[in-house]
Each structure stands twice: as C-alpha cells, then as structure tokens.
C-alpha cells in the first residue's frame, strides 16, 4: 500500500512537473499528493498555490441547501481568459481535494459534475490562467434529513 501510494504520488508530481504546474524544485520540496492532503491548506501547499486572487469571474453553481450530501451537483465556470485548469475543493471533506480539470484547446472552461459532501462545507474553485491562480468559493448546506431542513 505504501509503495502504491508512493508511486501514485510520484506519478502525479511528475505529471504536474511536465504540465508546468510546478517547477521541478517545488514539486520535490513539497512532494505531497494533493489528493491525499487532509486540509485545504495542505492541498494548496501540495499544489504549490499561494496567494490566489479572489475573482468574481469564476462562477460556482451549487445548491444552497443540499438534501442529499452524497450527490451534490456543482457546476464551475471560469470566464477568465486563458483558463487552462479548474480545481475543485470541498473544504470539509476528509480529503478536500475533489477534482482537477485540465482543458484542452477549444474546450469551454466550464464543467459540471456531482460531488459528495459529508457535511455543510465551502466549495472552493480555483482556476489557473497563465501562471496565475484565481479563486472563488460558495457554501453548500448539507441536511441529513429528507425534509429539506
């Protein structure tokens, strides 16, 4: 298991280096797999992101109240020109890093998928355009009961 997670970690780090997300030095210094990180700060550290600018050009479409935390539809759209990546972080989950989308040429920088949320949480979206990171967040309230809280 150790070996496997090490391999996985090094693969992802390798991919990050080759896509230019991290400079090689940083990748080895930080080294951690963002998907294994246990807190938002650790995720950002593992990704090598610091000082992301808050932007209203990133739109997160998520329900204010989610009755079923197992299936929460979240759409993230970046209207920032030159966006190449969108990272989605579910702050309160045991492993907050939820997804990273890398866009190819011609793709519209907007994705929709469904996430699990253990409890009421902030959904943080980070968009990468050029060498800069932009961020936005929204809160989703998760109610366990079926009555919509």
């Amino acid at each position: 298991m150790k070996r496997r997670s090490f391999l996985k970690g090094s693969l992802i780090a390798g991919a990050a280096v080759s896509t230019g997300l991290l400079s090689p030095n940083m990748a080895f210094a930080e080294g951690a797999d963002p998907f294994e990180a246990k807190s938002v700060d650790d995720v950002l550290k593992a990704l090598g992101i610091s000082g992301a600018e808050t932007s209203d050009k990133i739109k997160i479409k998520a329900p204010e109240i989610a009755e079923n935390g197992a299936v929460v539809p979240v759409g993230i759209t970046s209207e920032i020109e030159g966006t190449t990546e969108i990272i989605s972080i579910t702050a309160a989950n045991p492993t907050p890093m939820a997804a990273k989308y890398t866009f190819g040429e011609g793709a519209v920088t907007s994705v929709k998928s469904r996430f699990k949320m253990g409890k009421t949480t902030d959904v943080i979206a980070i968009a990468k355009a050029g060498d800069k990171y932009y961020t936005a967040k929204t809160e989703v309230k998760v109610t366990k009961g079926g009555c919509g809280g």
Binding site: V72, P94, A107, M117
Partner: protein
Amino acid sequence: MAKSTIKLRTKVKGDKVQVKALIKHPMETGLRKDKKTGKKIPAHYINHVVVEANGKQVLSADWSGSISKNPFLSFSYKGGAGDKVKLSWKDNTDKSDMLEVEVKAKK
C-alpha cells in the same frame, strides 16, 4: 462486447458540442464501513478521466473519492457534427474503460 460502463451523449449547440457522460462506478472513498462486518470498504474510485475529440484531448479530469457514485460529467467544446468523441477512465485499481461516439448532426 460487454456492456460499457459509460453512457455518453453529445449534442450540437451552435458551434459547440455539449458532452454529457455518466459512468457506472461505486466510487468508494475507503472511509466507509461495511455495516455488517464493521470493516472498512477499500477505496475504489476513478482517478483519471480523459475526453478526446477527433484524437485531440479536450478535457482531462483528476478525480478523488469526493466525486459521487456513478459520476456525471458535463462540459462543452468547440466542434461540430461528425466529431468523434472518446471518453476513457481509469480507477485506482487500474481498471479502465472507454467509449467512442460520433457527434450526430442536429435534426
């Protein structure tokens, strides 16, 4: 051919193609416990999805166990009818599947 785990729908919208995908997968986080035995259910989730249009990658997604069971993915790209859209996924146990569809013209 075994039934694919992927359902892929494409729709032409102006000069863009909307891609909607549903993948059948348990997406176990590895944190959930089996109610009968009290043992943890091992993690089993898709960690990489790639969508190509005419052989060119338009979207790649790195996922974690925070994605819902039977994941859904929707996005658009610039393209048109006749494009070949291919989606492939791989999970943490190295299982994988892929499906290719042709974008049909609007009727």
